[in-house]
């Protein structure tokens, strides 16, 4: 364990949170965006420093030392290990790209503020080493997006989303809170705290402890958007505040809770749970891919792709082989970046045409060739184009899953086939061909702006660079996978 002399992680949470609150009250959009860019860049620099410290020292975990000086705290509260290290820069980069690329129409100061708040809460979630703190961040991370969705609804946007979303947020929060409280009460009796290190050391043995673990598992399932509790996810992509939704999805709070808490502290009872998870993940992956075939709205298509890939990541994490888990962790990153990139293009299209319905689009490539190129690149990257990161993740995942559940691997390919067709069909109908008579046209000169281009180039570069040279990322992820697949003591 390495203690950082500066509270870098705490700053990475506090700066966007406070700055976000300030920005939300600004009046001028241009000024707000400038400040939001500064804040997001600062966060990126901070988390980069943390990750560099983690990589350079070669320690299992890097922590913010100052937290120990708080009253009643025996272990550090914030830290980074092999599981969270690559996710932090991912989140910071996605947030920065979203701030930069946001079309002016939806870049009101309050939206940018909410985006930064989401970023703060997500970084809190990824660095928390205490179950109570983690649960708090886990539940709170979706709240700014939900408030933003409610505000959009008040302006006349889609109605059903906020209710469904809030419902599932609440449903997911209840068992997590219950499980945490049970563990807390149980721990007080046994004299053990809720620090993850303590929990992992203790493991779950008594009936009460196992019940608490099952409650946390239920929270994971409800928030994972597995079928049949999935409707809120495509809906949130379709009607929710863009940017925040993809940021939240790229973080995969539920998969993180699974990998951070459940898998390490639940090693004995994990086997049946793993099978259930794999089955649900598989069903979700194939189901969402099938439903995706019938869609006509670009945002919903992206939402269903996200749902499908969420299922595939779950399958990878629930395979008991290190390569399957590492594949799941890789796909988590690659799908997160690719879905964010797709969302950025779709938002750019919507800002220029007022619609994302592919029945009214068509021939966009004539006047938006760069947007078309970016959509194709991110879409194909999402479905595993060789040379992109998704290919590496998919290859490892299918191999690992084949070792654990052979039939699942074959069915997984079905989902891959459907997702590929959905992406290509959306590309062909929205960007190629001619605009339909009742459709909308984009006048020339309204292709991606330079700032949008910068954002998508950065995201595409991540996919391409790590796709061509996956070695470092794979070794980092496989370390996390080994930690997860192996003995629980190796984990904080």
């Amino acid at each position: 364990m390495i203690a950082l002399p500066f509270p870098l992680m705490a700053l990475a949470i506090v700066i966007p949170a406070v700055y976000g609150l300030i920005i939300a009250r600004m009046r001028d959009e241009v000024v707000a965006r400038r400040h939001a860019t500064i804040a997001a860049t600062a966060v990126l620099a901070l988390v980069a420093a943390v990750v560099i410290a983690f990589r350079a020292r070669g320690a299992a975990i890097v922590v913010d030392a100052w937290t120990v000086s708080l009253p009643g705290v025996s272990h550090p509260l914030l830290g980074v290990d092999s599981l969270s290290a690559p996710l932090l820069p991912l989140v910071a980069l996605i947030a920065l790209a979203t701030v930069i690329a946001r079309p002016r129409r939806i870049a009101a100061p309050h939206t940018l503020g909410a985006l930064l708040m989401t970023e703060a809460l997500v970084i809190g979630l990824l660095t928390a080493l205490h179950l109570g703190l983690l649960a708090l961040f886990w539940i709170a991370s979706a709240v700014p997006a939900l408030i933003e969705a409610r505000r959009r609804q008040a302006l006349g946007a889609q109605g059903p989303l906020t209710r469904t979303w809030a419902l599932f947020l609440l449903l997911g929060a209840l068992p997590l809170v219950a499980g945490t409280v049970v563990l807390l009460i149980d721990g007080v009796r046994a004299g053990v705290s809720l620090h993850l290190a303590d929990l992992v050391e203790r493991g779950l043995h008594t009936h009460i402890e196992i019940a608490a673990g099952l409650l946390i598992g239920l929270a994971v399932l409800l928030r994972s958007a597995v079928v049949p509790v999935h409707s809120w996810l495509p809906m949130s992509f379709e009607h929710g505040p863009p940017g925040m939704v993809s940021l939240l999805w790229a973080t995969q709070p539920s998969a993180y809770l699974l990998a951070r808490v459940l898998m390490p502290i639940f090693p004995d009872a994990a086997e049946p749970f793993r099978v259930i998870l794999a089955a649900l993940g598989l069903f979700t992956a194939v189901y969402a891919a099938l439903v995706g075939l019938a869609q006509t709205d670009l945002k919903r298509i992206v939402g269903l792709l996200a749902t499908s890939y969420g299922g595939i990541v779950l399958i990878g994490l629930s395979s008991s082989h290190a390569d399957g888990i590492a594949g799941g962790l890789m796909l988590w990153i690659s799908a997160g970046v690719a879905i964010t990139g797709l969302s950025l293009v779709v938002v750019a299209v919507e800002a220029r045409t007022g619609t994302t319905d592919i029945r009214r689009l068509g021939g966009l490539a004539h006047t938006m060739p760069r947007a078309a190129m970016v959509f194709a690149v991110f879409g194909l990257a999402a479905v595993g184009l060789p040379g992109m990161l998704g290919f590496v993740g998919e290859d490892m995942l299918i191999h690992g899953v084949l070792e654990s559940y052979p039939a699942v691997a074959a069915l997984l390919l079905v989902a891959g086939v459907f997702n590929g067709i959905t992406v290509m069909r959306a590309f062909a109908r929205a960007f190629l061909g001619q605009a339909v008579p009742w459709g909308v046209k984009v006048p020339p000169g309204r292709d991606l702006r330079p700032r949008e281009r910068v954002a998508v180039i950065v995201l595409a570069a991540i996919l391409a660079v790590f796709g061509l040279m996956p070695g470092p990322l794979v070794s980092a992820r496989s370390q996390a996978a080994v930690d997860l697949a192996a003995e629980p003591g190796a984990h904080p």
Partner: protein
């Protein structure tokens, strides 16, 4: 590592088009499309050097001390229990294909410089051509099944994007989507096969897993059961890429792309990728008699059907497409019979002839006139089919040929069934979402909501005017997959 100069040369052959692709794609996206002259010179240099390198490699393999060697480029990634090494396999088969690939792409590239002159999308065409060259060379040089799969996918995606090259017309776009669907479905076979090779042989390297270095005499260590399964999966992939029965009819549709790309993909290289895959994995086929029998059946059916259907075509490119399918079908039969060297020779010869024919296709009528004028009479081929088939049977066969053996109708029915299922599940899914939210949530609702959120006045008015049209038009417009078959 790159121990010998020969290995260095061979690696450079692969890296040249890759570098050209990255350079051109980067320039197009970040800066602007480079001038035609720059692109033409870059292409000429890349393929001249590539061809020289390939010939040197082939010569080195033939006269050198080692007839086959692996180039270890490094470890791509590794997790406990699973490593992915980047290796290239150079043997007479792959070196021959390297020469063929660089020579034909170089020739077609030179042809395209003139043919595509001042065409909109000139830069895009060459970006995709260099990507295709990268994929094709990766496919023929890849030392592991995974690497081969990587090249295979790149070839597929460039093929699809080039079919849709004339993107302002609806037909090429639809046909490209059709080709993509068939590729995507069949490629799943290769991916699963690659993973299974890993699973059973504990490595994806062609050499130990499939005994490739003594091609075609190598032997696989796999048991007959797994070998048969993997060989059949590879055969499915090869059928998609090489347009064999019953998924052959995307090929004539693919001719909507620019003529040079048709020549490159469907006359010369992409169409033979399936044959190459089967040749490369020949040791697997030796252990799998069932797969060999299936290959013969598929090859024969393809050859016969394509020969008959090709005779009813009125378009020279379509006729050539069917002729290609027939020849590749014969190659499948040869491979099924174990005549690997013959199939390889057939492949090279056919690629050269067909490229020439396809490149000359745009001026075919002109040439026919010249020939007729020189001969002083109308030059017609003999009515072979009419002589062989009895009269009553002829009309029926003609109808069958015009309908392309109803294969499109069959696949369309399948696609329609899947789409119907998807729509039904989608409807249930939306109903389930409504149950949770308590508010209607459908395409109409979303279209209306989009209109209300659109802040720019023009967009809002366009949307509200279009929403009604769009909903009315939904029923009239079926998705592409179904429509493409009806057209």
């Amino acid at each position: 590592m790159l121990a010998s100069p020969l290995a260095l040369v061979a690696t450079c052959v692969l890296l040249l088009p890759m570098g050209a692709f990255l350079l051109l794609a980067g320039l197009v996206f970040v800066y602007r499309t480079p001038s035609e002259r720059f692109i033409a010179r870059l292409t000429a240099v890349v393929f001249a050097l590539g061809l020289a390198g390939s010939i040197a490699t082939l010569a080195g393999v033939i006269v050198g001390p080692r007839h086959a060697f692996e180039i270890y480029l490094g470890r791509w990634f590794a997790v406990p229990g699973y490593t992915f090494d980047l290796t290239l396999l150079i043997d007479p088969l792959s070196a021959t294909l390297m020469v063929l690939t660089t020579a034909i792409i170089g020739i077609v590239g030179r042809f395209s410089v003139t043919y595509m002159h001042r065409e909109r999308g000139y830069g895009r065409f060459f970006v995709l051509m260099h990507l295709f060259a990268t994929g094709m060379l990766l496919l023929v040089m890849g030392g592991s099944v995974d690497l081969l799969y990587g090249g295979w996918e790149l070839v597929g995606i460039t093929s699809v994007l080039l079919i849709a090259f004339f993107q302002e017309r609806a037909e090429p776009v639809r046909n490209s989507l059709r080709a993509f669907i068939i590729y995507r479905v069949c490629d799943a076979g290769l991916l699963l096969g690659a993973v299974l090779v890993h699973h059973y042989a504990h490595t994806a390297q062609l050499d130990p897993a499939l005994g490739a270095t003594q091609w075609p005499l190598g032997a696989t260590h796999l048991e007959p059961g797994p070998a048969t399964l993997i060989a059949i999966l590879f055969m499915v992939a090869a059928m998609g890429k090489s347009a064999q029965f019953p998924v052959s009819n995307w090929l004539p549709r693919a001719m909507e792309g620019p003529t040079p790309s048709s020549a490159l993909f469907y006359g010369a290289l992409s169409i033979h990728a399936g044959v190459y895959l089967l040749l490369r994995t020949a040791p697997l086929l030796v252990a799998a008699p069932l797969a060999r029998a299936l290959l013969i059946v598929v090859g024969l059916l393809s050859a016969v059907c394509a020969t008959i259907a090709g005779r009813a075509q009125t378009d020279v490119k379509n006729a050539l497409a069917y002729a290609s399918i027939a020849q590749v079908g014969i190659m499948f039969v040869e491979i099924g019979l174990g005549l690997y060297v013959l199939a390889a020779l057939h492949l090279v010869g056919h690629a050269c002839v067909r490229t020439l024919q396809l490149l000359k296709a745009p001026s075919a009528l002109h040439e026919a006139h010249i020939l007729d004028a020189a001969a002083g009479r109308h030059m017609a081929t003999g009515a072979h089919m009419e002589r062989m088939v009895p009269g009553t049977f002829q009309r029926w066969l003609y109808g069958l040929a015009l309908e392309r053996f109803h294969l499109d109708a069959l696949l369309n029915r399948l696609a329609r069934a899947v789409m119907a299922l998807a729509r039904r599940v989608d409807a249930l899914d939306r109903r389930w979402a409504v149950l949770q939210s308590g508010t209607p949530h459908g395409p109409t609702a979303s279209a209306a909501s989009t209109a209300s959120t659109a802040s720019t006045a023009s967009a809002a008015s366009a949307a509200s005017a279009g929403a009604a049209h769009a909903t009315r038009a939904t029923k009239a417009r079926d998705p592409d997959m179904v429509r493409s078959g009806e057209s």
